[in-house]
Amino acid sequence: MSFISLVLIAGLFGFLVLQSVPILAEQKWDFLLGRDWWAGEVYGALPMIYGSCMVTGVASLLVLPLALGGAIFTSEFLSAKQRLWVKAMMELFAGITGIIYGLLGVALMAGWVKDSFGLIDGNTILTAGLLLGIMILPTILTLAEDALHAVPGCYRDTSLSLGLTKLQMIKSAVIPQALPGIAGAIFLGLGRAMGETIAVMLVIGGLDKIADPWYDLFAPAQSIASKLGREAAEAIGSGLQWSALMALGLVLFFMVMFLTMVGNLFLKRVR
């Protein structure tokens, strides 16, 4: 079974590499570093790489306090029954497909961001980041909670018998033990955020430009996934544009693979 998965992934990787050869031969490093993308003339991937990183970064900054706080609360303060309730809800939400979030984003989030910050338009990096944060919150919460709950009871008992308060016990005894699992949960959530297409595509603005200044969250942008979502259908099969889009896909493949690998390395230490 794992052999089949390996073959499929290797096949996908090989396909992406082969399809990327024309554009990389044509533009070489200018593909990764170029800031300008205009079909038929030039293909620069930097704005999309920037967009993916920014949106994922915003999502993680927003989600970490909430997910970790929620995980700690669920693991250490709730009764067994309440905990199962929370876990079930989180796992349910984690399964909701991206388009639902996308529609909610268009209908509610974009308008809210526009009005709250007095912008001319609500399709921004911040909006996409917020939406992604909401999407990956359940995943990170439930996995981090697993890590915390897996810390053996003797650590807690010993700390409490030594005279620590509950909060001190959580901070000094439980969290350090659960850290590898928590880190793993975060990286897996980020991997999902980076690949999310439709929700981001509907609220990010679709402008192939790096914001000026680069940290302006109220600017429209384009992520790798949203670019593929918008342009793939018109270029299918052949031509330099198709090769450029496939190369973008290859870049995303590497980025997500990197995040997932790091995440798994941390999780291995838990099990």
Binding site: G40, D121, G206, L207, R230
Partner: protein, 269 residues
């Protein structure tokens, strides 16, 4: 839908139609009628995606019929040399420069080609420069392959592939454009006139001292400067049910549906 009933000896013929969201309503409504008339022999699926996707799908064989609200570009012609693309005109439409209704009611009723160009180039950034309220303009651009954009840019800049550095957003279908402009109180965009409504108003074009409104009348008598043919694109010679479907759209019954959808029939009487 699409069950294999009716004539037991004839296998069900499936026709796929893909492309321009401007032509989409025509294709959907004529397909409904055509399928009804065919007694279960034909099943037609219609999808959007844009003119570029329509031409691409027809040329590569992924769809039987491509829809395009623009002409085929030289690059596309060359790419699909074999078996060669054929164009069938099924109606006429105009592309309006549309703005949010709030801006229209504040006094911006017409714009010149130069003003529109400057807005899309980012030279004019505030509505007050063209007689409107003191608000920043939300410039909405379209994906580069879209037929509506080709036609609009051809008029404004003389180049169907012109860049718009002043753009704030890039969106896709006519549907999405309509939604984004009605959500904003300060937006400008480009839209097929059949898609205009109360929230999304088409401005008159100021040209040579007169103002030409984006109405069907002005398209019929060729006064409105931004108009285009609505095309079906087919690779090679259409045969069988595909040919029948195209003939149906170009027949008086089909053309009646074209007119009811808000476009100009090819032989207006």
């Amino acid at each position: 839908m699409g069950a294999s009933t009716g004539n037991a000896n004839e296998p069900l013929v499936r026709i796929s139609v893909v492309g321009s969201t401007t032509v989409l309503p025509i294709a959907t409504r004529t397909a409904e009628q055509f399928v009804k008339n065919s007694n279960g022999e034909v099943s037609i699926t219609v999808n959007g995606g844009g003119s570029g996707v329509g031409i691409q799908s027809a040329g590569s064989g992924r769809a039987d019929i491509g829809m395009a609200s623009r002409e085929i570009t030289p690059r596309e012609k060359k790419r699909f040399q074999t078996p060669g693309l054929r164009t069938y005109v099924v109606g006429r439409d105009a592309v309006a420069c549309v703005i949010s209704s709030e801006v229209y009611s504040s006094g911006v009723h017409a714009l010149s080609k130069e003003q529109i160009g400057d807005i899309y180039l980012g030279k004019i950034k505030n509505w007050k420069k063209v007689g409107g309220p003191d608000r920043e303009i939300v410039v909405i651009d379209k994906e580069a392959h879209r037929g509506t954009r080709h036609v609009f840019m051809q008029y404004v800049f003389g180049n169907e592939r012109a860049r718009a550095p002043g753009a704030r957003l890039v969106i896709g279908s006519n549907n999405e454009e309509q939604a984004k402009i009605s959500q904003s109180d300060s937006a400008i965009g480009l839209l097929s006139i059949a898609w205009m409504n109360d929230d999304v108003v088409g401005v008159g074009i100021r040209q040579a001292g007169e103002i030409i409104e984006p109405t069907l009348e002005n398209v019929r008598n060729n006064r409105f400067p931004i108009s285009r043919n609505l095309n079906l694109v087919i690779a090679g010679e259409p045969r069988g049910k595909v040919k029948e479907f195209v003939d149906y759209i170009m027949s008086p019954q089909g053309q009646k549906i074209v007119a009811e959808s808000g476009f100009i029939p090819i032989h207006p009487n």
